[in-house]
């Protein structure tokens, strides 16, 4: 089946996954060699690499690691497909679209709001409460962040106000989900409606038809002078927004809290078996409330970054489904911080690509906007097998 003779029985799941990563890497390389700076003009090497990746993936699926095996197969297929497209397009166009450092920087920018929301969702779901309302909380953060920054003339006060707004929306969701034990998905959807309605209403009320002013203080970028000289990485990390750095720090921090602290253990207990947690004296309601409010605050921070750190304006419903993409990233990442962050990077990359692709084809540019959503769809559909949520997520806990 493969060209490498490997003793099948001796390979552990962990080993299989490592091999899968090799396969995924090969698939990516298949695409990469057809793109600048190498820009091979024939698709033959990419075909070979792609087939190799597919073969590895298939072998791994047969060995039992279905998920990672399929990742490798998909990487092989897409890698070759992309390479094929690249070889058929003009070199000039390719070079203007695929500027790796710009792409990567854009990827980080697009991924950041997703990461905030995704990590927020992680806390909420690990504690056992589904938070479909991340989208709405993000939007609250976006609007109230920019409103706050405008009225107080300070970006960090604006950020705080945005975060508080998201937290309040989350508090409502928490109340309905935890105390009233309403269905969490319906409640989250309600929050989304309310957020769109409330922010739209206030947006028109305050700013009328002209929109937000252009001189609102925005979250500053962080200049790292010392990376200037480093090729490729220097260009990416030289000037990134503060929020991006916060997000980068937040990922390992979340991991630490969830898996290495007592509070994290208790949060996870509430999400797996709330009755068990209750019987050892943990206040399940309090922990769930805290987790949900935190999720709202984090999502709102991501939204505030969108409005006062990224595009520096507000439009009605500007989050455009990002909250749901963040949720999909969480599922895709198996409810773990690093996994979710990786998924956010993937989705961010697709948005970055979609942003640059109009240079490639004007009329099709609109179609490319659908790319992140299609990718999310594939991701959610492709989560075959072991994506195991916390056991009690979504179920209200009834105390007597």
């Amino acid at each position: 089946m493969t060209t490498v003779a490997l003793p099948a029985a001796a390979i552990t799941p962990r080993g299989l996954r490592r091999i899968a990563w090799v396969g995924i890497g090969i698939g990516l390389i298949a695409a990469w060699i057809a793109l600048p700076p190498i820009a091979a003009r024939t698709w033959v090497p990419s075909l070979l690499l792609g087939l190799f990746a597919v073969a590895i993936g298939a072998w791994i699926v047969v060995q039992g690691e279905r998920r990672f095996g399929w990742f490798a197969i998909v990487a092989g297929v897409f890698g070759f497909g992309l390479a094929l497209l690249a070889t058929f397009s003009g070199l000039g166009k390719l070079e203007s679209v695929v500027v790796w450092s710009a792409l990567f920087a854009a990827m980080l920018r697009f991924a950041t709001p997703l990461a905030f929301a995704s990590l927020g969702g992680l806390f909420s779901e690990r504690a056992g409460v589904v938070n479909i309302g991340l989208e709405g909380m993000m939007l609250m953060g976006a609007f109230f962040g920019i409103l706050g920054a405008d009225k107080t003339n300070s970006w960090w006060l604006g950020l705080l106000i945005g975060v508080a707004a998201g937290g309040s929306a989350a508090l409502v969701h928490a109340f309905f989900a935890i105390h009233l034990q309403a269905d969490q998905i319906v409640g989250g959807t309600a929050i989304n409606f309310l957020a769109v309605g409330l922010t739209g209403y206030l947006f028109i009320d305050v700013y009328g038809t002209e929109g937000t002013p252009t001189d609102i203080p925005s979250i500053p970028d962080v200049r790292l002078g010392f990376v200037d000289g480093i090729p490729f990485f220097g260009a990416i990390f030289d000037q990134l927004n503060l929020m991006i750095w916060i997000a980068i720090v937040l990922v390992p921090l979340t991991w630490l809290v969830i898996f290495r602290t007592p509070i994290g253990l208790r949060i996870r207990a509430c999400g797996e078996h709330p009755r068990a947690a209750d019987t050892v004296g943990i206040d399940v309601y309090a922990i769930r409330y805290g987790a949900v409010v935190l999720s709202g605050m984090l999502a709102a921070a991501g939204g505030a970054y969108l409005s006062i750190g990224f595009v520096n304006s507000f439009n009605e419903n500007m989050t455009a489904g990002r909250g749901f993409i963040a949720l999909a990233a969480l599922i895709f990442g198996n409810w773990r911080p690093f996994g979710a962050a990786a998924a956010c990077l993937l989705f961010g990359f697709s948005s970055a690509l979609a942003q640059r692709l109009p240079e490639y084809s004007q009329s099709a540019s609109v179609l490319f906007q659908a790319l992140p959503y299609v990718l999310t769809l594939i991701a959610v559909a492709g989560v075959i097998g072991r994506s195991i949520p916390p056991a009690s997520v979504g179920r209200p806990y009834r105390k007597q």
């Binding site: 309403a182 409606f193 309310l194 749901f324 999909a328 009329s363 609109v366």
Partner: protein
Amino acid sequence: MPRPRAGRRMTTTPAPGPGVDPSGLGPEKRASFIERYGISQRAEGLAAPLITTVLAFLVGGLVVLVTTGKNPLTTYRAIFEGAGFSWFFDLGSNRVGLPFSDATIWFPWNVSDAESVAAANLQQTLIVTTTLILTGLTVAFAFRCGMFNIGGQGQYLAGSIWAVWIGSSFSGLNPFLHIVLAIAVATLGGAVWAGIAGFLKATVGAHEVITTIMLNWVAIWVGSFLFGLGGPLQNDLQSSVPISNDVVENAFLPVFWGDALLQGLHVGLFLALAALVVYWGVLNRTTLGYGVRAVGFNPEAARYGGIGVARNYFLAMAISGAFAGLAGAIDVLGWQHRLSTSDIQTSQLGFIGIAVALLGRNTAVGVALAALLFGSLVTGTSTRNLDPEIFQPELASNLTLLIQGLVVLFVGADILVLWLLRRARGRR
């Protein structure tokens, strides 16, 4: 040493405890949202949705008061008039013609006054109600099978796109055939769009909330691409406007009340009413409906009973999407007659269907009434109908969204109230 026996079941699957367990502490048997919905359907009937609505309007009124200082009652009154209900207060002695003949019969309201603003408003309300009935049925049918179909908007768009394409092509076709063809293809288009999510749920268990929302956005962008500048379906004559070709006049749905040129009420209303009957009939009088309901209430028991769960998920989503596709076709053929990219990107009727279904408790009658309520809200707050002196229309449309959100929020909570009530009456 023998491998330890995994005695998982006693701990991970809460075993069914004593049959008589009023404490409810033993087994973690949570009444699912769908189960609770079922309870409420047999309970108070009208009272709960009424209370929910009143509450939502109350809070909405508060928002109005707090943010603009205006009297919420006058605002609601203006919305009421904008929706055209003041027409009902204008009783008189009039005559209306019977279909397929020249005879006329007595009718208390004046339907032939072409000048009546209230009549025009009411016609518009009913036009929107038509759409909302169908998008409401979309969500309701999926709910009956235990699924939350938030993709009504995308499925509606899918229907609209097919309808506008077929409606603007085949210009020589017999009108009746043309309409039937457009409606059939659009309905199928909506069914397929929802079917994607249904298929994913049936095969890999992908959560329909996320998949349908993603499909919504894909539909919006595909639609924007198709009718955008340079897009494949963009208008052949006006190349600078991102709009579709016009629907051929032959394929318009006939208008039976009001002026056809001024968006009079078209026969799509009857199609929507027929859909309500079909909805009820399928769910309660067919084997398919039995399966859908069984899976919606208890997929595990359905499976043990021999019913195919995955098959029902797929079919329920597809049928659900069909209603939405039909809505898209009716709107395009009935009054829109063309689609622009801004129409596609700003349309909300699919989303309002969610509130309609929830408020209407997923029943045919409930959906009809809730659709009327939201239809009047939408029309009453639109720029054309709402008196800007009383309240700014752009604000008012967001107010509608707010009220919608509040309805959805309170519905979730009052289900619980009903459920507690039922437990109080001693469920054994």
